[in-house]
């Protein structure tokens, strides 16, 4: 007993002050990309050629956050002159078009579906479906339940049964072998329901684009309401998206 109490004191109070206060992530963290439109074209071409995800639109000088894995190669090659990564983790979007960006991201709150706010603003129960994710996206959703992020304080929970949930959160590039299970889980969620795509994989196939075993984009199977880019997205990115979209 004494030991339990001693540990309790040592551990202290750890819950994050976000969203009341802003938090700074480590200097090397790569959050919202910023495109510098005045970069010379040859530099843009060079970045696009090196980008492992072919996420750079050369003509329009835009970056496709749905494909990007935030590896930072473009930033290095251009020494930040074409693309630089900010430490801003609040970059999720509600419309697919917004994924293709120059870094100015429309406010998520303005594009959130208002009826969802009314329905789920106070209580949101989500069913997570891992559809061939590498488990990093899953892990960074899972940690929202730890004391640091403490998702439950906002009335949001991950639940065990789709029957008890208001929507699904999908990670992974939806393998051929998981497609049916995913669609069945979606069917089992009572209407009206929300679909959230987390990670480059579920948005575009991510690193596994081009494999016949996967699906390139959840939106080809289900209507997606919220896109959370990343590889994986930082837990705070997930938290921000959920709060702004539903609260």
């Amino acid at each position: 007993m004494l030991n339990t109490l001693k540990n309790r004191f040592e551990q202290g109070y750890r819950t994050s002050t976000y969203p009341k206060k802003t938090v700074e992530l480590a200097p090397r963290y790569r959050g919202r990309p910023q495109v510098h439109k005045n970069a010379p074209s040859d530099l843009v071409v060079k970045c696009a050629a090196a980008c492992p995800q072919d996420a750079i639109d050369i003509d329009r000088k835009l970056i496709n956050m749905g494909r990007c894995v935030f590896c930072g190669t473009c930033e290095r090659i251009s020494e930040g002159r074409f693309i630089s990564f900010t430490r801003d983790f609040e970059y999720s979007v509600a419309e697919k078009d917004h994924l293709l960006t120059d870094g100015e991201i429309p406010s998520l709150a303005d594009h959130a579906r208002q009826h969802f706010k009314k329905l789920f603003g106070r209580s949101l129960q989500l069913r997570q479906v891992s559809a061939a994710g590498c488990n990093a996206c899953e892990a960074d959703l899972n940690v929202l339940a730890t004391p640091f992020f403490d998702l439950a304080r906002f009335g949001i929970n991950f639940v065990a049964s789709p029957r008890h949930s208001d929507g699904i959160v999908v990670t992974g590039p939806i393998s051929r072998n998981m497609k049916t299970a995913l669609l069945q889980t979606y069917e089992a969620v009572p209407d009206p329901k929300v679909v959230i795509a987390v990670g480059s994989c579920s948005i575009s196939g991510g690193p596994f684009r081009g494999s016949p075993e996967i699906t390139e984009g959840l939106d080809s199977l289900l209507p997606v309401d919220l896109y959370i880019p990343g590889c994986p997205s930082h837990p705070l990115t997930n938290l921000h998206a959920l709060l702004k979209f539903f609260k």
Binding site: A132, A139, G210
Partner: protein
Amino acid sequence: MDTDFLEISNGQALSREQIPHLTFDDFQKNAMKIVWGGGKIVQYFGYADNSIVKLMAVLRTDKLLVAGCDAPNEYPSLSNKCELFQLFEREIAEQFGIVPKYHPWLKMVRYHPNSQGKKDVFGNDYTKDIPGNYPYYSVEGNEIHEVAVGPVHAGVIEPGHFRFNCIGERVLHLEIQLGYQHRGIEDLILKAAPKRLPIIIEGIAGDTTVANGVSFAQAVEALASIQTDQGSHIIRTIGLELERIANHVGDLGALSGDVAFLPPANYCGRMRGDFLNMSLLICGNRLGKGLVRPGGVRFSIDDEISRELMRRINEIEPQVEHVIDLLFSTPSVRARFEDCGKVSTSDADHLGLVGPAGRACGLPYDARRTFATEYYPSIDIPENAKTTGDVFARAKMRAEEILQSISIIKSLLKDTIETNCVDSEVFNLPSSSFVVTVNEAWRGELSHCIITDTEGKILRYKIKDPSFHNWNGLAMSLRNTGISDFPLNNKSYNLSYCGYDL
């Protein structure tokens, strides 16, 4: 031991001519001789070379041994003589349509058609929805009942199917069927642009990002004769150990949660985050994505970061020690951990368990000691081995490794680390070459193997996650165990679905 296999070292590039190409008969006789003498299988796989299917095996004693042969269309299964082959034979059957006749339980591994357009060995039609659609092993009797779980589980975890045959609460047999996570990684690597490879590799299993990155990088470096500096070895070693700690800490918390002792569950959940944030500090990603590339590392640990890491580790070390002490000194925890899900040393040896799961059963093998790479040759890794093979031993093993890893990182941070960072350099691989790398990922032995063709293109990329060896350990743990102890046992192993499914 005198065999026709060639002795090689870890991460040694060979030209393919150097590898003994035996007749299948000699190949299997020699392989059996090695495994009967206590050898284990590191890799055993098929590959198609100008439409001829060949086999390649890398075995280990305290050395690595390699040989290959042409694959017969069918042959009497080796699994009947040695259990270690069973899953490898099934994988070869699935990938290349080679039939191991009289295999004791020939079923698919990942539910996909073979690459040779041959008739499916399992009689599946892959245009139909196949997963889970297969006659599971079943026990018959009046009071027997089956419990089916998955692929979609109750928690935020990956998919897989578990079929329990029980009498009352007692599990007689657990059959695990995976494959839901199959993304076709090995085939994708063959056709993807080289610039994509590091990203694909880091997506094999997110919780093993660094170990996979290192295994890939070492293979490419060996083949392309790329030199790496000492600093990059140190940083990779730190990355590997941080990965080990974060996963072990998280799992101890999950184990504690499963026996309803919530304080350590919460503390460990939070502390795991602190270790992930150390990776974030080094490379900007909590899982270590983007840290390792062929040629070295993409991020340095300069004095400022080094000091900050040291500060954080010094701060968290006593907390970790105290929570571990709390966990293992709580009688209700010990009562649930001890004697639960036992695997005997002999069973573990027959199954070929690796990593902490194997060490918990008294198999001391640790690739950091036996086939040391990176900075491990200069580090004294203690010989870890428990013998009880229960949840307690697996948990305790992990707890001890956490503390050892913390002290390894501290010792590595003592001196200034100098390295020339690399990015995504283009590399050209030599023609007709072979390399295998072995590393101790947090779950155990991880191995990558590359074979190139006459033009230096990758002909075969083979990945073996430690979970490939260990899933049957979990099934074995469940024998005669109460079904309610499944979650506890499952977390004591915490095996990889995606690493296995590829």
